[in-house]
Symmetry: D4
Subunit: 173 residues, 8 copies
Amino acid sequence: MSIYKKVGIVMGSDNDYEIMVEAAKALREFDINFEMTVASAHRSPERAGTWARTARDRGLCTIIAGAGAAAHLAGVLAAETTLPVIAVPIDATALHGLDALLAMVQMPAGIPVATMAVGKAGARNAGLFAVQMLAVEDEELAARLSAFRKKMAHEVEAKAARLDARLKQDGLC
Amino acid sequence: MSIYKKVGIVMGSDNDYEIMVEAAKALREFDINFEMTVASAHRSPERAGTWARTARDRGLCTIIAGAGAAAHLAGVLAAETTLPVIAVPIDATALHGLDALLAMVQMPAGIPVATMAVGKAGARNAGLFAVQMLAVEDEELAARLSAFRKKMAHEVEAKAARLDARLKQDGLC
Amino acid sequence: MSIYKKVGIVMGSDNDYEIMVEAAKALREFDINFEMTVASAHRSPERAGTWARTARDRGLCTIIAGAGAAAHLAGVLAAETTLPVIAVPIDATALHGLDALLAMVQMPAGIPVATMAVGKAGARNAGLFAVQMLAVEDEELAARLSAFRKKMAHEVEAKAARLDARLKQDGLC
Amino acid sequence: MSIYKKVGIVMGSDNDYEIMVEAAKALREFDINFEMTVASAHRSPERAGTWARTARDRGLCTIIAGAGAAAHLAGVLAAETTLPVIAVPIDATALHGLDALLAMVQMPAGIPVATMAVGKAGARNAGLFAVQMLAVEDEELAARLSAFRKKMAHEVEAKAARLDARLKQDGLC
Amino acid sequence: MSIYKKVGIVMGSDNDYEIMVEAAKALREFDINFEMTVASAHRSPERAGTWARTARDRGLCTIIAGAGAAAHLAGVLAAETTLPVIAVPIDATALHGLDALLAMVQMPAGIPVATMAVGKAGARNAGLFAVQMLAVEDEELAARLSAFRKKMAHEVEAKAARLDARLKQDGLC
Amino acid sequence: MSIYKKVGIVMGSDNDYEIMVEAAKALREFDINFEMTVASAHRSPERAGTWARTARDRGLCTIIAGAGAAAHLAGVLAAETTLPVIAVPIDATALHGLDALLAMVQMPAGIPVATMAVGKAGARNAGLFAVQMLAVEDEELAARLSAFRKKMAHEVEAKAARLDARLKQDGLC
Amino acid sequence: MSIYKKVGIVMGSDNDYEIMVEAAKALREFDINFEMTVASAHRSPERAGTWARTARDRGLCTIIAGAGAAAHLAGVLAAETTLPVIAVPIDATALHGLDALLAMVQMPAGIPVATMAVGKAGARNAGLFAVQMLAVEDEELAARLSAFRKKMAHEVEAKAARLDARLKQDGLC
Amino acid sequence: MSIYKKVGIVMGSDNDYEIMVEAAKALREFDINFEMTVASAHRSPERAGTWARTARDRGLCTIIAGAGAAAHLAGVLAAETTLPVIAVPIDATALHGLDALLAMVQMPAGIPVATMAVGKAGARNAGLFAVQMLAVEDEELAARLSAFRKKMAHEVEAKAARLDARLKQDGLC
């Protein structure tokens, strides 16, 4: 069992689970605990507000909020806590996530929200960003992050190595 | 003094006054009372929530909310009241109000927000829309709206009449 | 049978039925009567104009207009009646509803149109917004809306409760 | 005095005059008569409709319509006449004419509107397009258009010739 | 056999045929002759230029040009003829036709191009616009256009009539 | 003198100083030390890389990176350190910061960048976000943040109180 | 075996292979050698930097870089070499390549990147552009390019010839 | 006097001079000769075509083309020569250069155009890109480019050094 503080993951709708689980997986890779829930800024404002206001006392160190459309969730939570809030815009409408992105990233001065990319990449990076925050003062975790980075770099090399086979298959070398 | 219910006008920042006063002026033209205040969804969430939750009991019949950037105000108020909420996106960032527009209009199913155009035209129309709502069951007010519409049509004719002079001045007829 | 006034739902093409029926369903949930028709601002301007001009006398209290592409329907109807007009932009072209959204929401000062989100969420919210307008002076309907809001909040809690099962299934807790 | 049929120029607001006068000037350069008026699709729908329905009988051969914001004017006129309608989107809102452009160009099948560029270039081209339509069966006018094209080409050459002076002035040759 | 002049339809690639045939069908409905070809502004500039320069002498009265991506075809043809050129932007890239639309509609002053909607609706309207141009001085064709408009209006009514059945099927009336 | 770790602020060009100084001011308000420098991902890649690679060892706890245009700075730094990197898109081109925003926020999975709003609001929020990160484990700082939030809420109330005077001045109450 | 210098093709992820192989195919058509690899600006910055810094010494004459999302690859390589760098934006996110396009094309003054179209057309053109660069001083290659252009023009004619069959099949001539 | 081949700079209008002179200045810094002219794809297609077709024989090694609006110039020139063509989109309309950018960068497969950033940065980079092309086989020029890059890096350092003074002036250190 991890000794780290817990990260809170919240999504506006359970339709967002397939996206937001990427944040959870990233945290799990680094043995960071998390709690995950659904809370809509619009359909359950009281729940969302209470969840945010009690987040620090529940031992959360940061909040990851994913939502689509007019995605107010991250901003609404950020207004109710001084914990860092990370936002994941979700492509849930005809406008392909541009609505959620702008509704999250363009926060007015005073209440910051840290926005990630639209969709799964953003959710995974939200998890990794939380790990990086925890690693600032945790040398062991920082070392694991460095190892993780090296592994990614090696995977790039491995992919590069496999290109030749594909080029041969396509008759290009 | 008017016998109509009151409209609530709220803006996210007093920087929005020059825009939102257009809503007030439209209401005044039809002798509709209003109250106007500043409440930020992000900087003063409690104030915004309380204002919305008590709006019906304070005798408000509709709420007009203007905000810029990641404009959550209208959605946040709409989540706390079943009164109709009209949104006015304000051009307050480098993205020229497209952020506020999408953050307001793309509300998820369940909590409607009625969005107007970006800026002064939208604010004026928010006021007029409130008048039109009140006029549904008020024949006298409906008659005043019809007269207002006729006056606008006449003004178009008057503008058309003045075009000839401009064309002559430009040597085009 | 309902004692409430009727809502008019109009769409630019019967291709829009699957979207616009969401408005009808929302009204039915609150026992609000409606009439639904097809009227194109472009292909049947006379029909659209007549329908709007007679709307108040036919007992309509508000109009919900859905259209795609250069969506002029809501604006054209709004120009012919002082009833409130609610617009639902529909994703019907390569531009994914951005065209319909801007063609509806950016109405010039004088003739308001209350725009909802693109697509089904917008259509459902158009119906709910009409209910909210009717509930301003109808305490019983307002109470039903409050109950509806509570039910939505409970559904959010139920969804949250089911998340644990999904996390277990994904081996994440 | 010209023997050609007349072109109708209509704008949604007299604020659009400085833009739309470019269409008039282009017509004048080719001695084409025009009538110019203001008619708002929203503020004066009856006037706009009547103007369009009687356009053919008044001897108009084509209609040039300029409007900004949710620019319905061209589509509304096109729905009421089988004369060709040319649209000029005007940059009149925070969205810089993108709203007017999409509201004009994305007309649904059945009612065509021929859209030009946003602003003055579009207005001038609307006038020139009307001239080109008239020149299809008018060899003398076609010859004048060819001469106009040659003149434009010569002006390009003249501008090119003046570049050297500017380069010298900037110490670049 | 038709006595009308011929319309030229040209597309940048035969991939565009399924879109551009809509223009041909519209012309056929009104017994207007057409010639249809492929000419790329980029891959076959000489062919495109020659085709445009000889268009008037070949008896064409107008040109309909469809293209996708950086759609230069319409502008390139328009630069080589004084015949009216109608442009149809085609959704052929990741940017969903916004690229083709802007590359066609934003023509600089001097060389007009009349742009229609992106895709099939635009292609059909291009054909209809050509018919409307021919009908300016052809009362019989104008009458057929009026009948066509009436038929469209009747179809709208027929669609409206069928809505009730769908509502019953969905249990909504 | 503060006992907190230091925040690094880096900008792509000294033209960005007026924007990025807002981050510095926010840090100063909470007595957080910072170092500020210029390092361009493109014009000085070695400097940028070295700065990022040594950041943790220099005692930085987080990095705030502001850049305009194809804003690669934040991503380039994030690739070289496991410290949290906060990005501030700057409106520095004809595309009004949309280029910088997308170039920063759309980071691929693996290397997170936490993006703030375009411009001054984003820079100030970047500073505040850094404070919030430091306050996760620092109760005194968390308390100061709570006080700061309360002060913002009071300022909203003060602004609201001043609205009446403006309404009177405008003759609206 | 070719006597020309080699072109380097690099992509941010092997997911981009299907797109980027189009560049390789174009080079092969002109017997230009290439090397192809994977190097991520973010996941393997050292690899990317080293690859770029040694590119000239390895005999590369130009670099083609394809990437999606916040596509920094081309800019990062360009910062490390004075060889010409050609960028291919890839549609890899919900924003359909607009993010990659702006992240590549909007390079600040000093470090040029030559951007092609989003996707396969862009990748093929990147290869052809490299050929055109090599052909500046190579008359034989220039002649082959001219022949290639003529072949494209003939293909356009062949496609045009086949249109008649399609029109007959559709009953349109 | 330089021994290098000449670069051709062409702009669609002399209004573009202030932008395009940046390309000339960049070439001058490296003693590359250039010729500069005005040629409009639309207003002077013959001139533009002839200029491009004869470019190679006139000793040009590459072409830099700047244009705004529906910017066809680069594509039109590229279709007429196998020399490399570099495009500079210019912000000349209400759409702020997005139109020119898409009209240039989205070239279909077969005819490449290398697009730079919108405006002055793009023009300067077009010149620098031409220098980089010439430097591929010219070691002395490559060395000068390397020195130029070093100078840019030093300027960044100098700017960084001056930041402290500004922070002191603002009372921030």
